[in-house]
């Protein structure tokens, strides 16, 4: 069932949107929460007119899933895409072409294939994975703090979701 975010959820989301640099993008759009059977809170972006139409009619899907809300907001692939397009400053890594192909198969990232990292990354930070064109190809989690992320021969970022995921699912 899709519903409005409650006050606590809204506060967490607004803070997350601010941190990801996309607060302004959401000002004229609707944010909805969909609690799944396993109690995951999925966050959806919806056009205002669609929200009016939705009222009282439970949809299978309402809008675009931009992430999940646990203790923190975790962007989905679509959320990462919005961040990469709209935000000027956000936690990210840029990978080389070889790693891009591997990420699109869901593989984790070696330090030697990271071309650039954003400022002040710590261990366990969520990052948007960008290709050399600065397009979002995935979302990852750092395994080390910033200086160690470029270590050759070591997996330094875990890929959480990637742009190839849905296609692999569909083919299965």
């Amino acid at each position: 069932m899709y519903r409005q975010a409650n006050a606590k959820e809204l506060t967490t989301l607004k803070r997350a949107f601010h941190n990801w640099g996309i607060f302004d993008f959401f000002l004229d759009k609707e944010i909805l929460v969909n609690e799944t059977d396993n109690k995951t809170k999925e966050i959806y972006l919806l056009a205002p007119r669609a929200k009016e139409i939705l009222c009282g009619k439970d949809a299978y899907c309402a809008g675009l899933k931009i992430g999940e809300l646990k203790k923190k907001f975790l962007p989905s692939m679509q959320g990462a895409d919005i961040i990469a397009r709209k935000s000027r400053k956000f936690s990210h890594i840029v990978v080389d072409e070889n790693a891009e192909k591997l990420v699109l198969y869901g593989r984790d990232i070696l330090g030697s294939s990271i071309m650039e990292i954003s400022e002040r990354l710590s261990e366990n930070d969520i990052v948007v994975i960008l290709n050399k064109n600065r397009e979002a190809i995935g979302v990852g989690r750092t395994r080390f703090p910033a200086p160690l992320l470029l270590r050759p021969g070591k997996v330094t970022v875990t890929t959480i979701v990637d742009a190839g995921y849905y296609l692999r699912e569909e083919n299965n």
């Binding site: 759009k29 959806y44 972006l45 919806l46 056009a47 007119r49 669609a50 009016e52 139409i53 939705l54 009619k57 949809a59 299978y60 899907c61 309402a62 809008g63 675009l64 899933k65 692939m77 679509q78 895409d81 919005i82 891009e100 699109l104 290709n131 397009e135 190809i137 742009a163 190839g164 849905y166 296609l167 699912e169 569909e170």
Partner: protein, 302 residues
């Protein structure tokens, strides 16, 4: 020589111009098209990227649709595809959406949405504003809509798991309704050669009776003054002009010119259709280099 059931070819001869040309064209692979997803990239940017990778793209009658003459790898395997920069979609489907005359503020119903190609094109024409309701009853097919709307960055769409015949339950009147009706699919034989022999006349009868129910439900869902676009990928007059003829007898609707394509049939066998059915359009693989398609644009009168 072309390995069709005889009854099917005998029918084609009655109403398809240059039937031999059609049969010959259907034995060659269908022309592939991609539609630029302007929600994410401009036409020129995408063209430049794909051409640099070795694609050969040819302009079509629609500015955001390219015919793909050559591609270095399958169209669904590029990073541009995964990022939602384009949709692999036949030109005929894009023409059908063009006929719908979508405005940004509209509330639109896509009665048979899966896999989401027309839905995502409508969303891009609306610049993600307004609202689209997309219906599909089969769960597996809903997943294909999700994949495509998510990939294309669409956020003005509500997907309902619902049989399109039940649309009245939503209690919404729509500015535009698109009904791409389930059909006998004669028009896609170039993609699925098995259809040369897998269909029987009774299949056309079955589809036709179902299409009447669907179009009735669709017409009732349109607000007065709104538009319903009816389309099929069939050549059969029973699934096309006869359906429009049926609703003209039953509802206050007007058939408006549908744009690109050959005029709708004026007769089939002994049956004479109304003059205005000429305003509907037929797309033929050997004439228009698309899949076989039929498009009718109906204005719902007050």
């Amino acid at each position: 020589m072309y390995k069709y059931d005889r009854w099917l070819v005998n029918r084609f001869i009655q109403f398809i111009p240059d039937t031999k040309g059609l049969l010959s064209r259907m034995d060659r692979p269908a022309q592939k098209y991609i539609r630029v997803n302007t929600l994410k990239i401009t036409r020129d940017e995408l063209k430049e990227r794909l051409v640099a990778k070795g694609f050969v793209l040819i302009d079509t009658i629609l500015v955001d649709v390219f015919a793909v003459q050559k591609s270095p790898y399958p169209l669904g395997a590029s990073i541009e595809y995964l990022l939602g920069y384009y949709y692999i979609q036949d030109l005929s489907s894009c023409v059908a959406v063009e006929t719908l005359d979508v405005k940004e503020e509209h509330v639109i119903l896509d009665m048979t949405s899966a896999p989401g190609g027309k839905t995502t094109l409508i969303a891009q024409k609306m610049k993600n504003r307004g609202s689209i309701i997309a219906l599909e009853s089969n769960l597996n097919r809903i997943n294909s809509i999700l994949f495509n709307t998510f990939r294309c960055g669409v956020f003005n769409t509500l997907i309902y798991r619902m049989d399109a015949r039940q649309v009245a339950r939503l209690n919404v009147r729509f500015d535009r309704v698109l009904l791409d009706a389930p059909c006998s699919c004669e028009g896609i034989i170039a993609k699925h050669a098995a259809r040369k022999t897998s269909r029987q006349p009774k299949d056309i009868e079955y589809c036709s009776s179902r299409q009447k129910i669907l179009i009735e439900a669709g017409i009732k869902a349109v607000r007065p003054g709104g538009i319903l676009v009816y389309c099929t990928c069939s050549f059969a007059p029973e699934e096309n002009e006869s359906i429009i003829s049926y609703v003209l007898d039953k509802f206050p609707v007007k058939v408006e010119p549908a744009g690109y394509g050959t005029e709708g049939l004026q007769n089939f066998g002994d049956f004479q259709f109304r003059q205005e059915i000429k305003n509907t359009r037929r797309l033929y693989p050997h004439i228009h280099d698309t899949l076989g398609f039929y498009i009718a644009r109906l204005r719902i009168m007050d």
